[in-house]
Structures are given as C-alpha cells and as structure tokens.
C-alpha cells in the first residue's frame, strides 16, 4: 500500500487577539493512495482546518507534511499553488462556481491555469461534462442549474487536471437526500477508479460511504473507524 500523504505531529495555531488558539494539536495521520476518508466531529473541532492543511490552502505551524514523500511545509506560496493545481481537487458545500462564468468556463478553469492548449482543453471539458451528466448544460450559467447539477459541475472542475486527491467539505450539505445520494455515488465511483478522497461531514449516512472514518475533537484525533 502506497502512502500518498503523511502528516506527523501537525500543529496549527491561530493568534486570536492575545489568545493563542490551537486549531490542531499534534495530528499524525497516514493516508493511503486510493483510500476514502470521512472526517467527522463537532463544529469547531478542526475538521475544516485539517482539510485546508491537507489541500495546501493553509500551512501548518509546525510538524511535517509529506506529499508523495516530499515535505511541502516549507514550500513557497507559488509552489503550494502549483500543488493545488496538479494534485488536489476541491469540492465545497456551497459549490463555489464563479457566477459570471459559464459551466464550460468554470470546468476549464484549472486547465486554463495549467496552460493547456485549446483543442485538448475543449476535448477534456466535453468528456468531464459527459462523465458528470452535464453535456447539455455547458453554455449555461451556474444560477440556471439545480443544486445537484451545480455540485456535479464543481466535481467536474475538481477533476479537470486529473488530481490524485479530492477534498470535499460537506459536499452534500446544501442538497436534498436523493441528490446527496447521487453525489456520493459519483464520489464512490471516482474512488473506485483510484482517486483518494477525504471528505468532511457530520452526517453519519454520508460518512458511511467512506472506508475510514476519522473522529476529531478539540484539534486532536479521537478515534479512527473502518477497515485498514
């Protein structure tokens, strides 16, 4: 089993006024390639902080973060941006599509930043839209789509640069249960095709789709459930 991510004694400290807040207090976690994790815990427990750290959106105060065996903690902002672009796909609770762009433009945004040529980009967007069932909606604006369609567009965007890891923060939080099931089945299929997925949720039914469940409380790992 290949370890794609390894966290060792990760601390994340915020300065809130005079008070120091430990959002994460010494988290160590190995994440295997192709695994499917659900991170659970009460609000304020540090779930989102953990996800942001994993996705290189944020930098740990101390510890060690190995991505494919490389310590990325000292990477520059520019290098971290590049890691996000090539290795991670983000999926958010509120979809986070850019409202003034069409679905097509939203999906090809990562390809635009990685500098793909027009023909490849266009073909790639078409196949992504096909895969998430939005082939007919490419020229529409996000506001014209249903919540489920928007989330599928966001997933297509997250997949554009073929990242190894998908990070989802409450991806079904704004969706009804039928749509949530569709989205989770989509994520499940992606996991079966080899994507490593880490999702944050407080819904046990959603967490049930994952192979491993990580419970976090006050910035520390409480317990881990599921097969290894």
């Amino acid at each position: 089993m290949v370890e794609i991510i390894r966290l060792e004694k990760i601390w994340k400290t915020y300065q809130r006024g005079r008070r120091q807040v430990n959002a994460l207090g010494g988290v160590s976690l190995p994440i295997a390639a192709g695994s499917f994790w659900a991170v659970m815990g009460p609000s304020g427990s540090g779930k989102s902080t953990l996800l942001n750290l994993l996705g290189c959106l944020d930098r740990a105060t101390s510890g060690c973060y190995l991505l494919n065996g490389v310590d990325v903690l000292r990477f520059s902002d520019e290098e971290l941006s590049d890691l996000r672009l090539r290795h991670f796909g983000f999926i958010f609770q509120s979809f986070n599509l850019i409202p003034q762009l069409t679905v097509r433009e939203n999906i090809d945004l990562p390809l635009y930043y990685s500098g793909g040529d027009a023909a490849t980009t266009s073909a790639r967007v078409a196949s992504l839209a096909e895969a998430v069932g939005l082939a007919q909606q490419l020229e529409q604006r996000p506001a014209e789509l249903s919540g489920g369609q928007q989330q599928r567009a966001a997933i297509a965007r997250a997949l554009a640069n073929q990242p190894e890891i998908l990070l989802a923060d409450e991806p079904t939080g704004n969706l009804d249960s039928a749509t949530s099931r569709q989205i989770m089945e989509l994520l499940q299929r992606l996991n079966q095709r080899g994507k490593t997925i880490v999702l944050v949720t407080h819904d046990p039914q959603i967490a049930a789709y994952a192979h491993r469940r990580l419970f976090i409380r006050d910035g520390q790992i409480e317990r881990i459930e599921g097969e290894t």
């Binding site: 942001n52 996705g55 959106l57 944020d58 902002d77 520019e78 941006s81 590049d82 890691l83 996000r84 672009l85 090539r86 991670f88 983000f90 958010f92 986070n96 599509l97 850019i98 003034q100 945004l109 990562p110 635009y112 930043y113 990685s114 500098g115 040529d117 027009a118 023909a119 980009t121 965007r157 640069n161």
Partner: protein, 423 residues
C-alpha cells in the same frame, strides 16, 4: 498547437465585467473620457492656433525684416492744433542708407501708403494707394489673376499704370474687363495693367500693405503725383502730415543673418531718428516667440492632462478596489483551484486596463467631436494629429496599469481561506 493566450481571456473577462455593470463602468470611465477628450481637444485647438500663427508669420517671410513708420505719441497730441504738420517716419535717406550699408541684404522694398479716391465712371471708392517697386511682388507673392505686375520699366519711364487688388477691381469696375481700362485715382488717370488676389491678413500687431482695396502704383509715380504731404480730415479738423515712406521690407540673403542685420538696423535707425517714429518687426523672432509660446502652452496642457488623468485614474482605482471586495469569493475559488498570486494580479491588472482603455477610446471620440464642433461653430482652425491620439491611448493604458496595481495587489494578497469564507 493552438495555445490559448491567457491575456485574451483576461481581456474577455474585463469586457464581461464592464458590460455586466454598464452604468457603473460608464460612471467610472467618465473621468478618463473627459480627461482624454479634453486633452485631445485642447491639443487640436492649440495645434490649430499655432499652425495658423506660423502660416501667417511665414507669409511675412522668415528672411525679411519689416520696418514700419509710426507716429510718435507726442506728435499725435501736437497734431490736434490746426496749423501743425506732423513730420515723422522713415525717409528716402533711410532707404538709401540701408541699401548701401548692409552687405547681407538682398533687396529693400520701400512702401508708401496713401488714401485716395478712386473713380471709374460713376463709381467712386476710397482706395489705398501702395507706392512701391517691382520687387514688392517678388517679396510678397500674391497670385496674379490677370495682366501683369509692375516692372522696372514702369518705374524708369514713370508710367501711369496701376495693379489693382481683386476686390477693388470688382467694386470699381463691376463686370467690365478691368485690364486696359483707365481709372482715375486722386485726380490722375492710370491704366490698369494687372489684377492680383486680395488676401486679407489679420495679424493684430502686423501691418502689411495688403488690404482689400489696394492700388499698386510705382513709387516714383506716386511721389511725383501726390508729393509727401498728406492731409487727413478727422473730427472736423485737417491733420497734415509728412511721411516719406511708410514701410521698408528688407530681405536678408540667408536666414542666419536675419537677426544680426536686424540689430544693426536698429542701431542705425536709432542714430538717425530722434523720436521713436518707426517699429522694427522680425518675423523670424515672432516665429521663435510663437514656438516658445506653443511650448509653454504644451507644458500647461500637459499639467492639465496630468491632473485630469490622475482624477480619472483614482476613480478607476476606487471602483477596482470595490470590485476586488465584491469578488473576494471568486478570488478565493481561483486560488483554491491553483491560481498563483501573479495570475490573480495579472487578471485584475488587465481588467483595469480594459476599463481605462475603453474610457480612453471613448475619450478620443469626445476629443474628436469637440474640435469638429469648435471649427463648425467658431471657424477656429483645429488640427487633430494622429500622434495625439496614439499618445492618449497609450496614456489611458498606462493609467490602467498604474492605478490597477494597488487593487490587483490587494486581490493577490488575499488569504484564500479567508476569501472563501466570505459571502
């Protein structure tokens, strides 16, 4: 391989933003529109005025020095008493001295001006008689409309011939063919030998023997017929004055010697004239002054342009800062996807430049419309130079770049997590 240029997408995004907030964009661009518009308009008016002045000065000849007789102020006051006779101005002796003294002079053309009644049949007019030599027509070229101008032989044989200005000929002779007609001027008959075009030159300080109703007669003939004493009737009194020559036009061989000759001339005239009864004008000096004035004008213009563009730029910066705040979440999304700071920066810079350049283009339209209107309404000459348009457009883009830097920097510095959290 067709690589999509990133800048094209940023420009597209800028245009989309501009169209999305039409009114806001227009209000934002107003500063640029009026700034660029007024610059283009002012440059065109300045350029037009400058060119007109240059043309007029050049018409006087940049190789020439013009000396005019001038009635001194004390003479003017004394002239009010009945028996007094004013005596002032350039003399035949001046003419001779100047011709003999200066080596750099090519020719000196004397001019004597008189007001005389011109009569043809029943028609009478007060004409201005210009007594001069054949060389006048070489120095002050006017298109010949018919016949010929005065020549050396007319002078030598003291011929009673006259060249009329177009306007005078038409007013006096109406539809008759003027050439060969006998016209009575101040009691003597003259044969009309040529017609030249009247060119009205309005030049404030400049006085040229070129009014509308001119009759050109050889100088020696004028002296012989009318003498040097003129009687002017004004306000019930008769003013007598004796002026030998009203003007000397001195042509210098080469332009480099114009100014030294002018100062020599000044020295000589001062020695022989007790009163300041003459005025020396050097078109070349006027030309230099006009150019200096234009340069000053350009500096003032540049300052005004700078201020208006500064104001325009601040307006744009203000709206772009608002834009960055409004689109914080979008910036967060782009950063999460993997956009680098420099890419966010570039995007907002290009968008600002789209705004400022569009404003500049609209400003150029305004700047083209204003001179057109000025010319139509006032008849003032205006000249829109292509350079002023290119420079304006360049400055508009530069304004976008400069005033876009800070908002773009703000956008690029946003913390992606904070930005994503913003609603």
């Amino acid at each position: 391989m067709m690589r999509r240029p990133k800048i094209a997408r940023s420009i597209h995004s800028g245009i989309r933003n501009l169209v999305l907030h039409r009114l806001r964009s227009l209000l934002t661009m107003l500063g640029m529109i009026f700034g660029v518009g007024s610059v283009v308009a002012m440059v065109s008016v300045g350029e037009g005025a400058g060119r007109q002045a240059l043309e007029q000065i050049q018409m006087l000849g940049s190789n020439n020095i013009i000396v005019n007789s001038l009635q001194p102020i004390e003479e003017e006051a004394a002239g009010r008493s009945r028996s007094h006779m004013s005596l002032y101005g350039l003399t035949y002796a001046d003419h001779r001295r100047i011709t003999d003294t200066f080596a750099a002079i090519k020719r000196v053309v004397p001019v004597k001006l008189l007001r005389k009644e011109a009569r043809f049949g029943e028609q009478t007019l007060e004409a201005r008689v210009v007594g001069t030599t054949a060389e006048w027509f070489e120095l002050v070229p006017r298109p010949l409309l018919g016949g010929r101008v005065l020549n050396e032989r007319d002078q030598q044989r003291g011929a009673s011939v006259v060249v009329l200005s177009e306007t005078l000929a038409r007013r006096l002779l109406a539809l008759e063919n003027p050439l060969g007609q006998m016209v009575k001027i101040g009691g003597s008959y003259f044969e009309v030998i040529g017609i030249i075009r009247s060119e009205a030159v309005q030049l404030g300080v400049m006085q040229t023997p070129d009014r509308q109703l001119d009759a050109y007669i050889p100088l020696n003939v004028v002296r012989e017929r009318y003498g040097d004493i003129m009687v002017r009737r004004s306000a019930g009194s008769r003013v007598r004055e004796r002026v030998e020559l009203h003007q000397l036009i001195i042509q210098v061989d080469v332009i480099e010697q114009v100014e030294s000759t002018a100062s020599g001339l000044k020295e000589m005239l001062r020695r022989f004239h007790q009163a300041a009864d003459y005025r020396i004008q050097v078109p070349l000096t006027l030309l230099r002054q006009a150019e200096a004035t234009r340069r000053t004008f350009n500096v003032v213009l540049g300052a005004i342009a700078g201020i208006s563009l500064l104001v325009g730029g601040i307006g744009i910066m203000n709206i772009m800062l608002a834009n960055v705040t409004e689109r914080t979440r979008e910036i967060g999304i782009r950063r999460a996807i993997g956009a680098k700071r420099s890419q966010i920066m570039g995007q907002f810079l290009v968008e600002t430049m789209v705004l400022s350049t569009t404003g500049g283009l609209l400003g150029i339209l305004v700047g083209l419309a204003i001179p057109w209107l000025i010319t139509r309404l006032t008849g003032l000459q205006t000249v829109v130079t292509p350079q002023s348009l290119v420079v304006s457009l360049g400055i508009s883009m530069a304004v976008g770049l400069v005033f876009g830097l800070y908002p773009a920097h703000r956008a690029a510095r946003l913390d992606p997590i904070e930005a994503l959290r913003r609603e």
